[in-house]
């Protein structure tokens, strides 16, 4: 935990803090159909074209059921569209490598993965997907699913803010405006910035180049007599991946999607060429989720509430990161005993370009927000260092969280915190003047229960089934962590992998796909129901007797609620995975 780390951390949090307000103010304008932005002149005609194309009156609002129906149909059509492209990519253009069709169950898994903003990848992009599949089939969802998340967050914020209203906004308007005014313009500039750092953007076939110094590599496999084949193969050339990378990476980060163009994701030198590109990528993951907290404050007309939510997110982020950073810096004592420099920490699975600090920070950020892009292998983290990303996901992806998803998830925790503690001020609980009643509690607990069922239920199944165990490369607690991580990541719509688990099998493709669907739509529907119900309530005026939803006390309460709900739910599972593994590492002679 060196000085440079502390300086970078300060810089990261500082810049994020500075960007929160402008981003929030801009989102407020975009998410208000009457809002004026400086891009109106350029984008306004395009926006109106889409309205007339789809036959939408942008100002006609929807109630929560109509809103949900629009959202589900939009996502369903999008999923089918992507499924079709993946299945037919061999017949479609922009396939210089001549990749064949993607298998049925992998296409199912991948289409759902991108439609749900998860971007779990049971494939290696550079050896599976054509440029068209990447740019159209997948990147379309990077925009659409991000906009959908933001739309739901906006609908919920409106629900909190409105007084005796029947509607919560128009889904189509929200999505179109978000894509046109927020995601596309930022990505345009951002992609160019990334190109300036050396990221590629082309349609060339993969390049075959001569290696600088040819070397010998063992040929995998066995000879006829069953011995490890001794002959070595001389390697003189290397295939270098090409493709439209910058355009996809920009939205993969900004939209907290995380699906890498290449299998190595942000560890690949093309996908993350410089320290600056690394810093920008981490920052862009948090940019919109952070701005949305400011948006919340604006919409409910209590900016201090927005900042209290931001503070709770920032507090959990910092604590998680510091634990991860410390664990990775400390490393594995058994390795040190073998003479490996203790000062370098745990460098297994990390890019030397990024080192301990930037790997730990990236891992924390990408799992706090449901991004899932990685620049190091979480599987190789120390047990506690790996516990942090895992727990981050299990806490519900509310530490800034996915675009929109983080905010609406956190609002559910606000509702629960208000309900639990609100009674203690001697009133039936109220959130910003809205009474929290049976219906709201029901919607909120459904939201909390879905991930519990998705993560614990599926892990229990996989961990005791032949198909589940077949995918494991590790046994014992670490193998358990791998399965637990896979279902946490998919249910939490994160998409990062602990790796070490071969999940491109029929059973995993299907169960993980279902987990992603569960974690997205079975959580969004209760959210919209909550939004609709809150919108319909009468707002009570705020005063001295109102439950305070700002200030340090509330931040502590909210942080405590998130941590307690998460810890109580996942402590037993975690104790059989990373926690036992940690003690095995520190208190036993088992070397791993």
């Amino acid at each position: 935990m060196d000085h440079f780390g502390w300086i970078q951390l300060t810089l990261f949090v500082g810049i994020l803090l500075v960007l929160t307000k402008p981003m929030g103010v801009y989102l407020t304008k975009v998410l208000d159909v009457e809002g004026k932005t400086f891009l109106d002149l350029a984008i306004g005609p395009v926006e109106r074209f889409f309205y007339s194309l789809l036959g939408i009156d942008p100002k006609k609002e929807q109630d929560w059921k109509q809103y949900s129906f629009s959202l589900i149909s939009f996502s369903l059509v999008g999923t089918l569209f992507t499924y079709a492209i993946l299945r037919l990519q061999h017949l479609l253009p922009l396939n210089p490598q001549g990749f064949g069709p993607v298998s049925g169950q992998l296409s199912f898994n991948t289409a759902i993965s991108f439609a749900t903003n998860t971007n779990w990848q049971n494939y290696a992009g550079e050896s599976t997907m054509s440029y068209l599949s990447q740019m159209v089939g997948l990147t379309f969802h990077n925009f659409a699913s991000a906009a959908t998340g933001i739309a739901v967050a906006a609908a919920l914020a409106r629900g909190v803010a409105r007084n005796s209203a029947k509607t919560i906004g128009n889904f189509w308007t929200d999505v179109i405006r978000t894509i046109l005014y927020v995601l596309l313009p930022i990505c345009l500039v951002y992609a160019l910035l990334l190109v300036s750092q050396g990221m590629i953007q082309n349609f060339n076939p993969y390049a075959k180049v001569e290696v600088v110094a040819p070397y010998a590599s063992p040929v995998p496999g066995k000879d006829a007599e069953g011995r490890q084949s001794p002959p070595q193969r001389k390697v003189e050339t290397q295939t270098i991946v090409q493709g439209p990378m910058a355009s996809q990476v920009a939205i993969k980060m900004l939209g907290t999607n995380g699906g890498g163009f290449t299998n190595a994701n942000a560890a690949h030198p093309y996908e993350n060429p410089t320290p600056l590109s690394n810093f920008l990528q981490m920052l862009s993951i948090f940019l919109i989720p952070s701005g949305l907290t400011y948006y919340l404050g604006r919409v409910v007309k209590d900016q201090r509430h927005g900042w209290a939510v931001w503070s709770a997110m920032a507090a959990i982020f910092l604590v998680g990161f510091l634990i991860c950073w410390w664990a990775e810096s400390t490393g594995n004592p058994h390795m040190h005993a073998l003479g490996i420099d203790a000062a370098s920490g745990n460098m297994e699975g990390k890019e030397t370009r990024f080192g301990i600090f930037n790997s730990a920070l990236f891992a924390t950020v990408t799992t706090d927000a449901s991004c899932g892009a990685v620049n190091s292998m979480h599987d190789s983290f120390t047990p506690l260092g790996g516990l942090v990303p895992l727990l981050n996901i299990q806490l519900g992806e509310v530490i800034f969280g996915g675009v929109g998803a983080g905010l609406y998830g956190m609002i559910v925790f606000v509702v629960l915190a208000v309900f639990l503690a609100g009674l203690m001020i001697g009133k039936t609980p109220e959130y910003l003047g809205k009474k929290i009643e049976a219906y709201d509690v029901k919607a909120s607990v459904m939201f909390i229960m879905v991930p519990v069922l998705g993560i614990l239920g599926s892990t229990a199944w996989a961990a005791t089934s032949a198909w589940g165990l077949a995918g494991l490369n590790n046994s014992g607690p670490h193998g358990f962590s791998e399965i637990l991580y896979a279902y946490s990541s998919t249910t939490g719509n994160n998409g990062s992998a602990f790796a070490g688990l071969n999940a491109n099998t029929c059973w995993y493709n299907i169960t993980l796909g279902i987990a992603m669907l569960l974690g997205r739509f079975f959580m969004i529907i209760p959210i919209l129901a909550l939004a609709g119900n809150l919108a319909g309530k009468k707002s009570r005026p705020l005063g001295e007797g109102s439950f305070p939803v700002s200030g340090p006390m509330f931040t502590v309460l909210l942080t405590g609620t998130v941590l307690i709900v998460g810890a109580l739910t996942f402590f037993p599972a975690l104790s059989l995975g990373p926690i036992v593994e940690h003690y095995l590492m520190t208190h036993s002679n088992i070397l791993f």
Partner: protein, 674 residues
């Protein structure tokens, strides 16, 4: 019924509650409470597993866990039974007033009477009640005037007058007519009277869950389901990891995690809240009303009777120029000796402050007292050749024949402009000075309103007085706002206006013309002396007919909600420590390296699990007094209240079980129970 506070552990209630806690084990009644239902199922499973499938643990351990799980259920039942028992004690007191009375039913067309038992009476029947009879049912007087002893209901021994017409025509079943007779029209069918409502509420039999209780139950049920999934999945995770978890241990962990503390005490808190209302002599028509009282943020308070004493009192003597204040006081006292009105008496008392001893009429046989007459609008005395009079300024002006001295006129003007009433005192032809009569605000109200303000509750005074007088009294009483020259319809309009702005409004009322406003208000407290219409419109009745009680009602409502919240927070915060006790104990056999996670240094895996289960059961008992008495009410701002209660019940709930489980573990290991 009297407002007697029962001691928390009354012996008779205690023994009855023990019996009841076993009766309540019936799983069908248990279903109402999902948390305790799961606990009971858990207790059954562990018991069955000892009998049918003794597992790897020792039998003694299994037996102890099963026993403590049953205790957990019994303790929760006991808490509920205690609350109901205390309610029943109140209800029995109420019921005593309802010993079978014989009613003299008036047959149609008037003349004949027929004796029928009171429970055969129906709404609309007319009965005759003579001196000495008990009024057989709630009703309204349609003929006659009588004094009625309502002590059975109110505990107030002084009889009250009930008469037909007007605002004092309502009578309550169970009260006794002392003089004269009344003809009463029955207004409630048997089983539907106030008493019946009240009895069913405090007995808890027909208690309906309040909206907030329903919401809380949903949350508790959801937590229970989550922990069920956690525990079930743990069994599978154990199978993967090669750790065997016995059913006994898993059930123990489950019961420790689900919110049994609040689950076990929730209904007790609700019943006790209603019970506290009854103890202050307020009958609530539903638990919902009691809960709404906690949410009220606007109080409409009638000036007369609630804020002021109801009568004007002398507060100051202002002598005319050249008159000594003692002489004015002396004259005022003489003029008021025979004046039995509260105003008159207050003058006598005020005069004593000027060194005058109390004089009685019998000391002064020579004096001729002049009573107040409508024509003269003065009263006074003729004594020793002095003619002393007191009255309004224009009446006295006539008496002294001529203008009042400027100093007196100034005094009159000053008193009037301050909202008071001036009485001018004259001796023969000389105006001596002015007595300042004013509405006196009840003691302690200003502080109370101040406390309400910190809690965000607005107080509005309602009065028929003019704006000037109203403003003065409002300022003096410290209310936030007032409505002057108010008619009943203005009251209703005001309530509607506040409600439209999102406020919840409470008010008191007694007259028939208050009924619409009482019905409109979120909490409408009718005075027991009020009309039947008023009582039916409101959702609470104050048997003492003390409008100031509204303040207590709000406090009790808040206290009930606070207790519920405090116990919920405490219950959930407890779980962290239980994990640290049980999880290491469950894993240490397979993974001895996990030892350091046993941060409490508990004696053995079995004693750790047993101690957590025992703590979980005992904490319910330990918190019964808190559930029944309620969290102490403090008038603080929401922010400060939250900070305080979060520290006590949140942080306390986090820490307490670490200490408790460790202590129990010391006992358990010392006694070699595990």
């Amino acid at each position: 019924m009297t407002a007697k506070a029962l001691s928390i552990f009354d012996r008779q209630i205690l023994s009855q509650a023990v019996v009841e806690s076993f009766k309540k084990l019936n799983p069908i009644t248990m279903l109402k409470n999902p948390v305790m239902f799961v606990t009971e199922v858990g207790a059954t499973i562990t018991t069955a597993s000892i009998i049918f499938k003794p597992e790897t643990e020792s039998l003694i351990f299994g037996f102890q866990i099963a026993a403590w799980l049953w205790f957990t259920v019994l303790f929760a039942n006991f808490a509920e039974a205690m609350a109901e028992g205390r309610g029943k004690a109140q209800a029995d007191a109420l019921r005593k007033t309802r010993t079978q009375t014989i009613a003299h039913l008036l047959l149609k067309h008037g003349l004949a009477q027929q004796d029928v038992p009171a429970d055969k009476l129906r709404k609309g029947d007319e009965v005759v009640v003579s001196a000495g009879d008990i009024i057989p049912a709630d009703g309204e007087v349609i003929q006659g005037v009588a004094s009625v002893d309502e002590s059975a209901i109110t505990g107030e021994s002084a009889p009250v007058i009930r008469e037909s017409g007007g605002d004092r025509n309502s009578v309550t079943g169970g009260t006794r007519v002392l003089s004269d007779f009344l003809i009463v029209r029955v207004t409630a069918d048997p089983g539907n009277s106030f008493l019946d409502h009240m009895i069913s509420l405090v007995e808890g039999a027909q208690r309906q869950k309040t909206p907030n209780e329903i919401a809380l139950t949903i949350l508790l049920a959801a937590l229970t389901i989550i922990f069920l999934v956690v525990i079930l999945s743990l069994k599978f995770f154990g199978a993967y990891s090669g750790v065997f978890f016995s059913i006994t241990v898993l059930t123990a962990l489950l019961v420790c995690l689900i919110p049994t503390t609040i689950g076990g005490l929730l209904s007790a808190v609700g019943i006790a809240g209603i019970d506290r209302l009854v103890q202050t002599n307020v009958l609530a028509m539903s638990g919902r009303a009691a809960e709404a009282a906690g949410d009220v943020d606007v109080l409409l308070l009638d000036k007369t009777g609630t804020i002021t004493m109801g009568n004007r009192q002398a507060t100051e003597f202002i002598p005319a120029h050249g008159v000594k204040i003692e002489d004015l006081a002396d004259a005022s006292q003489l003029a008021s000796l025979s004046d039995e009105t509260p105003e008159g008496r207050s003058i006598v008392i005020l005069a004593k402050q000027y060194g005058l001893r109390a004089r009685t009429l019998s000391e002064m046989p020579a004096a001729t007292f002049i009573p107040f007459k409508a024509e003269t609008r003065m009263s006074g005395v003729d004594i020793d050749g002095k003619r002393i009079r007191k009255g309004s300024s224009d009446a006295v002006m006539k008496f002294v024949v001529g203008r009042l001295p400027p100093s007196v006129e100034d005094a009159v003007a000053r008193v009037t402009s301050s909202g008071g009433t001036p009485l001018v005192v004259a001796e023969n032809e000389k105006a001596m000075g002015v007595i300042h009569l004013k509405d006196v605000v009840k003691g302690g109200l200003k502080d109370r309103f101040e406390r309400f303000r910190t809690m965000g509750i607005k107080t509005i005074m309602i009065t028929g007085d003019n704006r000037l007088t109203a403003a003065t009294i409002a300022r003096e009483a410290g209310v936030d706002d007032f409505l002057a020259e108010a008619r009943p319809e203005d009251k209703l309009a005001l309530i509607r206006k506040e409600q439209a702005a999102g406020h919840l409004v409470a008010m008191t009322g007694d007259g028939t013309n208050d009924a619409p406003a009482l019905a409109q208000a979120d909490v409408g407290v009718a005075m027991n002396t009020g009309t039947q219409a008023a009582k039916e419109a409101g959702n609470m009745v104050d048997l003492d007919s003390n409008p100031t009680k509204l303040i207590e009602i709000v406090e009790i409502g808040k206290q009930m909600l606070m207790t519920r919240g405090a116990l919920t927070t405490f219950s959930i915060a407890n779980d962290a420590a239980k994990y640290f006790a049980i999880i290491p104990a469950m894993l240490v056999a397979t993974f001895p390296v996990i030892g350091p996670l046993n941060i409490m240094q508990l004696h053995s895996p079995q004693s750790a699990i047993l101690s957590a289960v025992i703590f979980n059961a005992l904490i319910i008992v330990a918190l019964i007094p808190l559930a029944l008495r309620g969290v102490r009410f403090r008038p603080l701002t929401a922010a400060r209240l939250l900070r305080r209660n979060l520290l006590i019940y949140g942080l306390g709930g986090l820490v307490a079980p670490f200490v408790g489980i460790k202590l129990i573990d010391l006992f358990v290991s010392a006694l070699q129970l595990a």
